[in-house]
């Protein structure tokens, strides 16, 4: 491969990774925006999304690559079922673990979230075992450049890459529409700005929080499904790592800022792909965390976020 082909290939890699990070990061940033909690367990909801989607495929009898009409019936169905499952899971987590602590100190729900994260991870470990789980190759993989355009190139773009982008972008646009154009979205934005005032204006704050967890969970589920179909592998600890990277993305974009989280997700995707290629995969984690620390220390409001004065 020529040097530029390597770069293009890694950039495409980064784009697909970034799409998944972006979906997870949106859930982090929405929850933080509304109740100022780093929902540590969010990455593990993504991991469970992968396993749950696998269960739905198994339940529907899908074990090999989908073809033709199956792609437009079964695949959307599994998307919906998985997203509903993880959304319900995320809402249940909020109800059971976070809601009782709404009025307590700020660190209490964060510690609880870490506990929930551990429970989910180890529940998955007991469920699926420590070894990597093979995820069936349900989505057809066709090399686009060679098969469709007849271009002979070392760069490798497949229909799976299209799937990632094709599933992620509409979800993000739908979310954007929901948040900026609907009454529900307005309630969410108002609650994020000032919970008490929103309540005084007649907004059902608890229901808005529930909605936030629901949407965040659904997006994490979609991300898990996409991840599974793309990489065909799943492991119990993957939520921890993906969660931290997605959280870094949310911080980069300015936590609470949704377009920022999406952009941050793609940025972390590119960064980790390039780092794997040009530095060394074993240093990538250290590099991502260094960026997280540097951003938190020097621009805690993120690259896009706005500076808010502390209330005295």
């Amino acid at each position: 491969m020529e040097w530029w082909e390597v770069l293009v290939q890694q950039t495409i890699n980064g784009l697909t990774r970034g799409a998944v990070f972006a979906l997870i990061a949106l859930g982090y940033t929405m929850v933080y925006g509304i109740i100022e909690l780093i929902n540590f367990a969010h990455g593990d909801v993504f991991m469970l999304g992968l396993f749950i989607s696998l269960s739905w495929f198994t339940f529907l009898g899908v074990t090999k690559t989908l073809t033709g009409w199956q792609l437009v019936t079964i695949l959307p169905l599994v998307f919906v079922l998985t997203m509903l499952s993880t959304a319900a899971l995320n809402v249940a987590i909020d109800r059971l673990a976070y809601r009782p602590l709404r009025r307590s100190t700020r660190l209490a729900p964060l510690i609880t979230a870490i506990g929930v994260s551990f429970m989910l991870e180890n529940a998955a470990l007991l469920w699926k075992g420590p070894a990597p789980i093979a995820y069936p190759d349900v989505f057809p993989s066709v090399e686009i450049l060679r098969e469709w355009f007849g271009v002979d190139s070392a760069v490798f773009i497949t229909t799976k890459d299209l799937l990632v982008v094709g599933a992620t972008i509409p979800l993000m646009l739908a979310l954007h529409y929901f948040v900026t154009r609907t009454t529900w979205g307005k309630a969410m934005r108002a609650t994020a700005q000032d919970r008490e005032t929103a309540q005084a204006m007649g907004i059902d704050v608890e229901r808005t929080i529930l909605m936030t967890f629901f949407i965040g969970g659904a997006l994490a589920g979609a991300a898990g499904l996409i991840q599974g179909m793309y990489y065909n592998i799943g492991q119990w600890w993957m939520g921890y790592q993906a969660g931290l990277r997605a959280f870094t993305a949310a911080v980069l974009g300015g936590i609470g800022n949704m377009p920022g989280a999406a952009l941050g997700g793609f940025f972390i995707g590119f960064l980790s792909a390039w780092s794997d290629q040009y530095i060394s995969a074993r240093w990538t984690n250290a590099i991502v965390f260094s960026i997280l620390i540097l951003v938190l220390v020097f621009r805690p409001h993120g690259l896009l976020g706005e500076r808010t004065p502390e209330k005295l």
């Binding site: 009782p100 009025r103 209490a108 964060l110 870490i114 506990g115 911080v251 074993r282 620390i293 220390v297």
Partner: protein, 659 residues
């Protein structure tokens, strides 16, 4: 007496235990010693999390640094520029603590800018980076275009870790073959650490940590430097894990990076949270319970479940291994403790904070504040103030010229001048949003002015941190009361004395006579101050449990404990009934008359402010619209227009006629 007896029994039990264990053939000494290392780690973490209130999710990094310091310096195997020195264990243990403390400062440094949960994520990041770095630094090759300046350099042993590690040497003590010397070594280190932590807790440093935990801004405005206080917590917490890590490495004789992952940090956090963050006994209890659970309960229960499986013939139970469930249980434990008993098993029982401003009126009616008495005025304060300067000196105590502060496009303060003559009471009034509190925040260093001069005792204050301004002699109270809620009334006042005390870490631990005397004096002085403001009987109550009016007076006592020359009071009579407001007026007048204290007062109660002020400054939209005596201000047309209202003028006229 019974306490001493209990302590003696405890010591005897700890000393006899390993021999009893040997006599009975239990062979538990190894496991107990390992458990004690983790308890020591949890105690170190408690300084950061429990005292200073900084959630550290990467504490295992310090453990790793301690262990690797020992491992690299004390390994007899050559292979790296860093290792193969085989230095003495007794030297390495101190080096390990020092290196860990240094790293604590490095990791703590970002905390200067970051708060709360962001800080937790930063520590998590460091906790992830350290094991990655240890792994990867075992095999470094740098290649730049075919040129390899560094090839296969092994600094840390990489994935294989460091092995073997030298043992401590004491003549005649069999560290090689016998677990008992290890037990005593760890016991001695643990007991010494506990002793030191206990003394630190009860010192000015411990109180500063807790003040930061309770309310960082209020602590800063009470003379506690948040930066150095937090760094100290990180450094000390890390140094204890340096001891623990080095003993761990030497005892195990081999270390690998896998022993210091995120899970270890979380297990330690479980110990602290379960026992009760901030309580030494609680953390020991939590550490023992979790170690016991991890080492004994899970294994024994597995045996039991398998036995049940065999007897009932259920194959799933026969194959069960509950030790695989340990992290699930730890996660569940964290959640349950936070939901059911957030203060931990041994922590102070705290009720959830009452919602802000709720029932403020009710609370004030409940208690009658005693009138301030001149003879109750603490002699030491009178003495201190007399030394501070005389009311007859012509220079003003505070001189503010052209103070300007903008928030985006809003000019909150626009070239404000304000002069406080020595020993005067000056009122600062104006409509809501006029910039009064912004003015306070600029003078006390919470906000940096965009322009203008602030001179206190002739020296500029611009650019100083709030705690430095307190040390110069300006104290303040807050519009919405900001006490250290979960500290006692006495401790609140003692934090006020922080900047007048001098004990350092060695002083706080070793307690030389000077420190003992200083601490005793501070306590006497604080109690006298509490008597003076009428809180003498409540010294040991938690500040959060005081009624509203008492909280206001405690805030004043805390401010007075900083020995100020100028006191800034932000709406001290807010939420008070007329009788209480009157008592407060008497108190302020008495402080001025008897101590020569200068006072700047933001107030909306016109009776209070007109009654006691020598001069009044009026702000409106960030601009000074009037300055003068109360009588002049009451008749000033601009003031009536902007603030007092036409009705006020007529009221005044009616009152004059009635006289």
């Amino acid at each position: 007496m019974s306490r001493a007896l209990a302590s003696a029994a405890l010591v005897a039990g700890l000393v006899v235990y390993p021999f009893a264990d040997r006599a009975l053939g239990l062979q538990t000494v190894h496991a107990v010693s390992d458990g004690m290392i983790y308890v020591l780690l949890a105690l170190g973490l408690n300084i950061v999390v429990g005292y200073a209130g900084l959630l550290d999710l990467g504490y295992a990094a310090f453990f790793a640094i301690g262990a690797y310091s020992m491992g690299l310096l004390n390994s007899p195997v050559l292979g790296s520029p860093l290792y193969g020195h085989a230095w003495s264990f007794w030297l390495c243990i101190w080096l390990a603590a020092a290196v860990s403390a240094l790293l604590g400062v490095v990791i703590g440094a970002p905390t200067l800018r970051v708060r709360g949960d962001y800080l937790a994520i930063i520590t998590l990041g460091f906790g992830e980076i350290i094991p990655v770095a240890i792994r990867n630094l075992g095999d470094i090759t740098i290649e730049i275009g075919g040129w390899r300046p560094i090839e296969r350099l092994n600094l840390t042993g990489g994935e294989n870790g460091v092995n073997p590690i030298g043992r401590p040497y004491l003549p005649g003590v069999p560290f090689e073959t016998d677990p008992v010397p290890w037990y005593f070594l760890i016991l001695v280190i643990g007991a010494a650490s506990l002793w030191a932590m206990n003394r630190l807790r009860d010192s000015r440093l411990g109180r500063a940590w807790m003040a930061i935990r309770e309310d960082e801004t209020a602590a800063d405005c009470t003379g506690v430097n948040p930066v150095s206080t937090k760094l100290l917590a990180f450094a000390l917490g890390a140094s204890f894990s340096g001891f623990a890590g080095s003993v761990y490495a030497a005892k195990l004789q081999a270390i690998t990076p896998g022993a210091f992952e995120f899970q270890v940090s979380i297990m330690l956090l479980c110990m602290v949270v379960l026992g009760g963050a901030g309580s030494l006994k609680g953390v020991i209890l939590g550490g023992m319970l979790i170690t016991l659970f991890d080492r004994v309960v899970l294994a024994e229960t597995t045996f039991f479940v398998r036995w049940v499986g065999r007897t009932t013939g259920v194959p799933a139970l026969v194959a069960a291994d509950l030790t695989l469930w340990r992290w699930l249980f730890f996660g569940l434990g964290l959640v349950l403790v936070m939901l059911l008993r957030p203060e931990g098993l041994a922590g102070r029982r705290v009720r959830p904070a009452p919602a802000a401003d709720d029932d403020a009126d009710d609370a004030t009616l409940a208690d009658g504040a005693p009138a301030p008495r001149v003879d109750a005025l603490p002699g030491w304060l009178r003495e201190r103030m007399r030394r501070g300067g005389h009311a007859s000196e012509p220079t003003p105590i505070l001189e503010v010229r052209g103070l300007t502060r903008r928030f985006g496009g809003v000019v909150a303060l626009n070239g404000v001048d304000l002069v406080i003559p020595r020993g005067a009471i000056v009122g600062l009034i104006g409509p809501n949003g006029a910039g009064k509190t912004t003015f306070f925040n600029a003078v006390t260093g919470l906000l940096r002015p965009d322009g203008g001069r602030i001179a206190f005792e002739g020296a500029s204050l611009v650019g100083l941190r709030p705690n430095a301004i307190v040390a110069r002699g300006i104290a303040r109270t807050f519009q919405s009361i900001r006490l250290f809620q979960n500290m006692t009334v006495l401790e609140n006042v003692l934090v006020g004395g922080h900047c007048r005390l001098h004990a350092t870490v060695p002083g706080a631990v070793l307690r030389p006579p000077a420190v003992v005397a200083e601490e005793a004096r501070a306590r006497t002085q604080a109690r006298e101050l509490l008597d003076f403001v009428g809180l003498g009987g409540k010294a040991d109550d938690l500040a959060r449990n005081l009624p509203y009016g008492d909280q206001r007076r405690l805030e004043i006592a805390r401010a007075l404990a900083t020995e100020p020359g100028l006191l800034l009071l932000d709406e001290p009579s807010a939420g008070m009934n007329p009788r209480e407001a009157e008592t407060l007026t008497d108190l302020i007048e008495l402080l001025r008359r008897e101590l020569g204290l200068s006072v700047l007062l933001i107030e909306h109660h016109m009776e209070v402010v007109m009654g006691i002020s020598d001069r009044i400054t009026v702000l409106d939209y960030g601009t000074r619209i009037a300055e003068g005596t109360p009588a002049e201000i009451q008749r000033h047309p601009a003031v009536i227009e902007a603030y007092l209202g036409r009705g006020y003028e007529q009221d005044l006229a009616a009152r004059d006629r009635a006289r």
